[in-house]
Symmetry: C2
Subunit: 329 residues, 2 copies
Amino acid sequence: LAEVQTARPTASADQLADGVLRGERRALGRLMSAVENGRTDARATLKRLYAHTGRAHVVGITGPPGSGKSTLTTGVAAEYRRRERTVGIVAVDPSSPFTGGAILGDRVRMMELHGDPGVFVRSMATRGTLGGLARTTTDLVLLLAAFGKDVVLVETVGVGQDEVEIAHSADTTLVVGVPGLGDDIQTIKAGVLEIADILVVNKADLDGAQRVVGDLRGMVRLAPGPLDDGWSVPIHETVATTDSGVAALVDRIEHHRAFLERSARSHGRRAENARRQVHAIVQARLAERFAEVVSGPAWTTRFGAVAERTQDPYTLAEKILASRALLPD
Amino acid sequence: LAEVQTARPTASADQLADGVLRGERRALGRLMSAVENGRTDARATLKRLYAHTGRAHVVGITGPPGSGKSTLTTGVAAEYRRRERTVGIVAVDPSSPFTGGAILGDRVRMMELHGDPGVFVRSMATRGTLGGLARTTTDLVLLLAAFGKDVVLVETVGVGQDEVEIAHSADTTLVVGVPGLGDDIQTIKAGVLEIADILVVNKADLDGAQRVVGDLRGMVRLAPGPLDDGWSVPIHETVATTDSGVAALVDRIEHHRAFLERSARSHGRRAENARRQVHAIVQARLAERFAEVVSGPAWTTRFGAVAERTQDPYTLAEKILASRALLPD
């Protein structure tokens, strides 16, 4: 009955949050939508839900396109379920209205997870969330943690600013590489060492896999781990399509979790992640305020002047800052 | 003699800016470094240099790893040189201290460009510029434009927040796809339509290229172009390694440039880009200020409380905003 009530169209965000804490799936889904849509009352509930999020272990899974991350994420989720841990998944973005989403094999595996009450999967469209993708993702992870999931997997595509920000709100970050993606893979690897707790070489049965492993091993030797906290970044091989190496990968994630719990420096790492999170929230609020401040025809004229090079954007930015209009009254 | 003087270690940022306007390569390189390092006096010169940037056509080239963007960028640059246009290139990030950079073939081609006084190539490390990558890239593009380059090519890896921001400061954005990158390519395509002025299918001689072209054609039909401004996004095939289709691609870029010049809506587009640019500058300044404000042991304790879940990050963010400490006095 409670679930029916919280699922009413008129349920307030606070009622939905109560439902989330009681473990009601429909309330969770609806509160997620409200947060994604930027509803102020929904976002206000995050404050009190935050206190309930300490138990979940958040695992970021990122890497370049074509690395088989979706399959790997599904495999890791299934392995956690075999270990009787509940799992939340935020996938940024496996499907869009245009493409019809993931390939069939992954869909079938995902469907199995969908039928499992111990799993909650949420896909996020990247369309329309520009400017706030990482922020919204972090909020959805928070909701899954407050919902009581033991493990939350966050799957992102690529390694850019968003992924780095998401990685900073994860406890353990997996970066997935793969043989044969050509020259640009080098570039990705360079940025990756900053965020990886575990490097995964997927499709390890393909030609060139050992070369990728060897390259990564050399790089890991040269560079310290993310926070130079005594964790030595392992390089782990998987073939996600056959589940080869996936159980051992979950062992490694658990090993890292245990490391974080006993590490004297893990408190510092978590505080640093908290700092980044606060900054991201501040930045998102200021971005909203900026959009309000610069609306209207007078501003259109000013921006037109910048486009025509009769005004420079730096001076205009300084004027906006000096006007103090960005801050709440 | 003038060049020798501006190249003195003691040259001020203003002197370097003068050198840039006189077309001195060493002054340009040094001012770029100063801007990358966040030197305040260097950034102050951007205000006056901005007035000199209207002539350059800025072309963003982005796409997933393995799509052969570097080779394509080099080919486009060489074609512009054949047309006697000067070219600046900002490459984000072809090389890192760990990887040794691009594959040999590209290096050789790049070296040819390096020997050409009509070309100026700047590589940006992505390491250490987190939080300001797009901002710094835009500033380097500005410097190349002020230096007098007819065309500035900006090559970025992936399609994330940074690339979207960089695209918004470009006049023409090329998004490069490629056959055979697996399921994640779908995801990228969805985000890509928002920023692409020209879709390029590189490695068009590979199996599956026609399927990618067909998929993209379907998507372009369903979705409007970036600003619904009457431009219909073409899908262009290239084989960058053999220069096949590259000259025709430059024709398309020039076609888009001409379109922008005669389009009634291009003024609106440029004003919108200016708005985004001002926002990016505001955001970068606020991020610097944030870092100053939250330093010190009291803040470490507060962030520790967030990590321990005794304080929530949303309330802390609101306190920082309410304190007005982020704004200049």
